[in-house]
Amino acid sequence: MSREAMNHDAGRLRGRPVYVVDGTRTPFLKARGRPGPFHASDLAHAAGRALLTRLAVDAGRVDQVVLGCVSSGPDEANIGRVVALRLGCGERVPAWTVQRNCASGMQAVESAALEIASGRCDLVLAGGTESMSHHPVLFNELMVAWLGAWSQARTLGARGKALMQLRAQHFKPVIALLRGLTDPVVGLSMGQTAEELAERFGVDRATMDAYAVRSHQRLDRANGNGWMDEIEPLYDSDGNVYEHDDGLRPDSSTDALAKLRPVFDRPVGRVTAGNSAQVTDGAAMLLLASQAAVEAHGLPVLGRIVDSQWAGLDPAQMGLGPVHAMAPLMQRHGLDSDDVGVWEINEAFAAQVIACTRAWQSDGYCRDQLGLDGGFAPIDEDRLNVDGGGVSLGHPVGASGARITLHALKVMQREQRGVGIASLCIGGGQGGALLLEGAQEANA
């Protein structure tokens, strides 16, 4: 049996139905060059606390907590457990943390879904969190070695000698955020992988910028219509409240974006800060439940997680991950693009989302890379990222997977859609996707 044929059904999520009860998220707060007001655990705690309170579910009733986070703070080892305890779940409730780069939040949701499907749990709190403004700045290895030597130097002479060896290069910090956004195997930054896709699929600068402007406009419209009610405000200790995603630029225009210089492939590239996802702090939390838990606690149902898929591909092409993850889902469930009412494909880069849609309908790409007979029908732009995405509201790496899952379900509820897909590309060359079912179908 070929690898593709094996995949066809073997990957299916089996077992008991998995319901999403509800979810909340924090506003996404743009990192502004200094540590923001909230640590990753603060963000996840705020979202989780609001969710449980809104549902009137006692934190102690939760069977498990799973949290996705790419890089938690030094005081947040196993941040899932930190958040579970801070939520008052109690010491007896186990909690863990998952990391799959940009899909960590989706991994958490999927792991929680598996726990429920298998019958091991009935009620699981899952989500993702990231405080990118708190990603550490580290000493470089030269400095670490020097500090080691310094601690060994006991005499005044030895210390003087050690001091003499200090050079300016010792003080050059390692910015963990930038290193994390660089592929450690092929050496490309995430922006450079987007440049690869732009070139390969012929996505020009104007198309990217137009996409970015639309992302802002869509988010602005959603805010105006009160569609972002999954957001719970954050309050800091200095008397400030944060109610909305603060990366939004409602006045964004293609003219303004055209003035920005490329960031990754200077001077000739086309990916700019304006058409890339924003570096952001934020968290999203969902409550997942079995049928038994829904009935026992009298919980509402937002939708159902039907199936999931992970895929691997060339790290240099990581932005196409969604195509590789979504295709097997479609095949397994006999779907074509028109059957899907709501698409959330995480906007890491405008170029990357556009490349995905082009690859998706490309006979050549689907045949050569996915072993399919041909491409899928085009994805209707009016059903894709309808309320904006990473470009306008930001991409706190560990949180986005949970956010798009939640938001896809919210849009499905709003627009009465039965089927939805949430998917993202993953640094390191992977893609992840969840197949979702709306509340009407789930309840039926």
Partner: protein, 674 residues
């Protein structure tokens, strides 16, 4: 074996003496316990152990001190002195044991408990936040009498020991270690090992160095006393609270000689405890116990409190509940109305909880909740919005259908009758008043307001809730001003009246402070805010026939609101009243001023009793002391009346009525008394 102590000699020859007072949650040194302790020491001595560890079997602490209840029943100076000499004997026995002794302290170790620990060779305490050591005796109008003045000066040196005993404050484990009060402060898991190590090392017990004992040289003592007296005057009015000066006099007379000092302790403390001040302060201590007993934690186990209203009152109530371990949701109509409350809560938590993990946990327990999601899971819902009947009724209409069965619905109203607020409820009986005082974090009293409509078990649950958040519940009937504001209002209005008659504000305030009030009425009005005073006065004016002074109205209209606006009756700078030196002669003499203020409060208290706003005189005294700070050493307004003589006070009221007008007309309630 006796019921309070158990002795266990381990295989290494160490005796472990555990104090676990029978029929009590707290270790207290009653006469019976002390005798039992003495017997235990005899038993231990007969075992010939290598060493003795004394510890507590209670979770809450080591020993809370001597038996204050018995203090209230002492029958004369001679028997008190005999008791003290007997305790000296027992503690001498402990001190003179042929083997080393150590007190292993966890939680509080106060007064007589600390004196017992000081009679051991060594002390080790647990270094967590719950450990508090100190001599609170001066707060009861006495000073340490179980050998504490001798052993503390010997251990710490005279200055440090005097300072500790004069202030009556308690110290943390770290501070105790720094002072030298304990030999070691260790994590709880190391308490027993540390005690064993001290016994094993057998170092000579710690003593203050010679330098620290220099102040005890006879020629220097008067100087030291003068210096310390000056320090005392900065903090207390020694006319009202003589104990600190008595302690200094005792020290000055006898510090050179331990035998003299023990004898002087016995005679002086016996005398003080029989004096009025101590007896009144002990009364206040017992009144506090009485209020505590008004609510029983076992009756109700609330975990989640929902507060509606993010203003100063609502916000501070929410923060206080979170501080005391409740899960709290705080609602107001939009997020921006909650930010100030959250900011203030952070400040409160930082100040009260030194431990950053504990502060974080408190922050986590307090959830700003503009959607009001918390109502559904709350055990107690407290409404603290503005005083408007329609708004409150509309809010209850929203809340009531969401309430859990058995949840308490409470209002923080200070002026609207419960029956009115509850008339549109499906179940009016579930509405109860929880009247907090400002500032919430400082005021210990919580009025539990009930109307004829209020269910009895709701009142019980509300009182239990008060205990869960460490407040003193006082059950009051729903009538204008309840108890505290009602008795305070005539007192404040009289102060304004005096101003109108030309008495300078500082003179009015001084008269009240001299009586023993924590703050004069004018300064109090400025601090509370004149707008608030006016609003309460207006609400009460109708019902109680207290006309509202024009002057108050004019000042509020002019934006002179007191401390918060920078100008009221006083000018305020950096939170302090600028009190001008009084140049003009007051037209009214100080005695009259004092009586005019105090007797109006007293007269209103009599009216409250007649109307049965509270059930009895003790509750009234307790409420007024803990709700207003009414001179504690006077034992409360009714106790004050009785000490001065019911007839005399009534006559004085009649006289004031003749001279100053009918607002001094003695309440009908006097008829039943005088």
């Amino acid at each position: 074996m006796n019921p309070h102590f158990s002795i266990d000699k381990d295989s290494n020859g160490i005796a472990w003496l555990t104090f676990d007072k029978a029929d009590s949650g707290t270790n207290v040194l009653t006469e019976e316990v002390l005798e039992a302790f003495d017997q235990s020491l005899v038993t231990v001595a007969q075992m010939h152990p290598k060493g003795l560890v004394i510890l507590s079997g209670k979770r809450n602490g080591f020993i809370a001190g001597a038996d204050v209840k018995a203090f209230a029943r002492v029958a004369g100076v001679a028997s008190a002195e005999k008791h003290i000499r007997r305790v000296h004997e027992i503690f001498h026995r402990l001190e003179a044991m042929a083997f080393p002794t150590v007190a292993a302290i966890r939680g509080f170790c106060l007064g007589g408990g600390l004196e017992l620990a000081l009679a051991c060779d060594y002390r080790v305490c647990c270094n967590d936040g719950g450990t508090r050591l100190g001599f609170p005796e001066v707060k009861l109008g006495i000073f340490p009498g179980y050998g504490g003045t001798v052993r503390a000066t010997r251990l710490l040196g005279d200055l440090k020991a005097l300072e500790l005993m004069l202030g009556g404050r308690t110290v943390s484990a770290r501070a105790a270690r720094r002072l030298g009060l304990v030999d070691l402060a260790v994590p709880q898991r190391q308490l027993r090992p540390a005690a064993l190590r001290l016994l094993d090392e057998r170092k000579s017990p710690r003593r203050a160095g010679r330098l620290a004992r220099v102040p005890a040289f006879a020629p220097l003592r008067p100087l030291v006393t003068r210096f310390m007296t000056r320090q005392v005057h900065k903090h207390v009015n020694t006319e009202h609270y003589p104990a600190p000066l008595e302690l200094l006099a005792h020290w000055q007379a006898t510090a050179g000689d331990a035998t003299d000092m023990y004898a002087s302790e016995a005679s002086n403390v016996a005398r003080l405890i029989n004096a009025t001040t101590a007896q009144n302060l002990i009364r206040v201590f017992l009144l506090q116990d009485r209020l505590k007993a008004e609510g029983n934690k076992a009756d109700f186990a609330p975990r989640h409190v929902h507060v509606v209203g993010g203003g100063v009152m609502g916000g501070d109530i929410a923060a206080w509940c979170a501080l005391k371990g409740m899960r709290v949701t705080l609602q107001d109509r939009a997020p921006e109305y909650l930010t100030r409350a959250i900011e203030r809560a952070h400040t409160l938590f930082r100040r009260k909880l030194k431990d950053r993990y504990a502060a974080q946990a408190a922050v986590d327990r307090l959830m700003p909740d503009h959607r009001g999601s918390g109502v559904r899971s709350a055990d107690v819902v407290i409404e603290a919005i503005f005083e408007d009947i329609d708004a409150k009724q509309a809010l209850y209409a929203e809340i009531e259908p969401q309430l859990k069965p058995g949840a308490v619905l409470a209002t923080n109203t200070s002026s609207i009758p419960l029956a009115t607020l509850g008339e549109k409820l499906a179940n009016p009986g579930r509405l109860v008043g929880l009247h907090f005082f400002n500032p919430v974090a400082k005021m210990p009293l919580l009025e539990i307001v009930r109307d004829t409509t209020t269910d009895a078990d709701v009142v019980t649950r509300a009182a239990a809730f008060a205990r869960h958040i460490d407040k003193l519940p006082l059950k009051v009937r729903s009538s204008p001003g309840f108890l505290v504001n009602r008795v305070l209002m005539p007192y404040l209005l009289e102060a304004v009246e005096l101003l109108d008659e030309g008495v300078p504000a500082a003179v009015v305030d001084q008269a009240a402070v001299s009586f023993g009030m924590p703050m004069g009425p004018i300064e109090l009005a400025d601090t509370v805010g004149l707008d608030i005073c006016l609003s309460v006065a207006q609400k009460m004016a109708e019902a109680l026939h207290n006309p509202v002074p024009e002057r108050l109205r004019e000042m509020v209209e002019a934006g002179e609101l007191g401390r918060k606006s920078g100008k009221g009756f006083y000018a305020w700078r950096k939170g302090k009243a600028d009190k001008p030196a009084v140049k003009t002669e007051s037209p009214i003499d100080a005695n009259d001023i004092s009586d005019r203020l105090v007797l109006r409060l007293v007269n209103e208290s009599v009216a409250c009793l007649r109307e049965r706003v509270v059930d009895d005189e003790d509750l009234l005294d307790a409420g007024v002391i803990f709700g207003t700070g009414f001179a504690p050493f006077r034992g409360g307004p009714m106790h004050y009346v009785h000490s001065r003589g019911d007839v005399a006070v009534k006559q004085r009221l009649d006289e004031l009525e003749n001279r100053f007008g009918q607002h001094f007309h003695a309440d009908a309630g006097w008829g039943a008394m005088a």
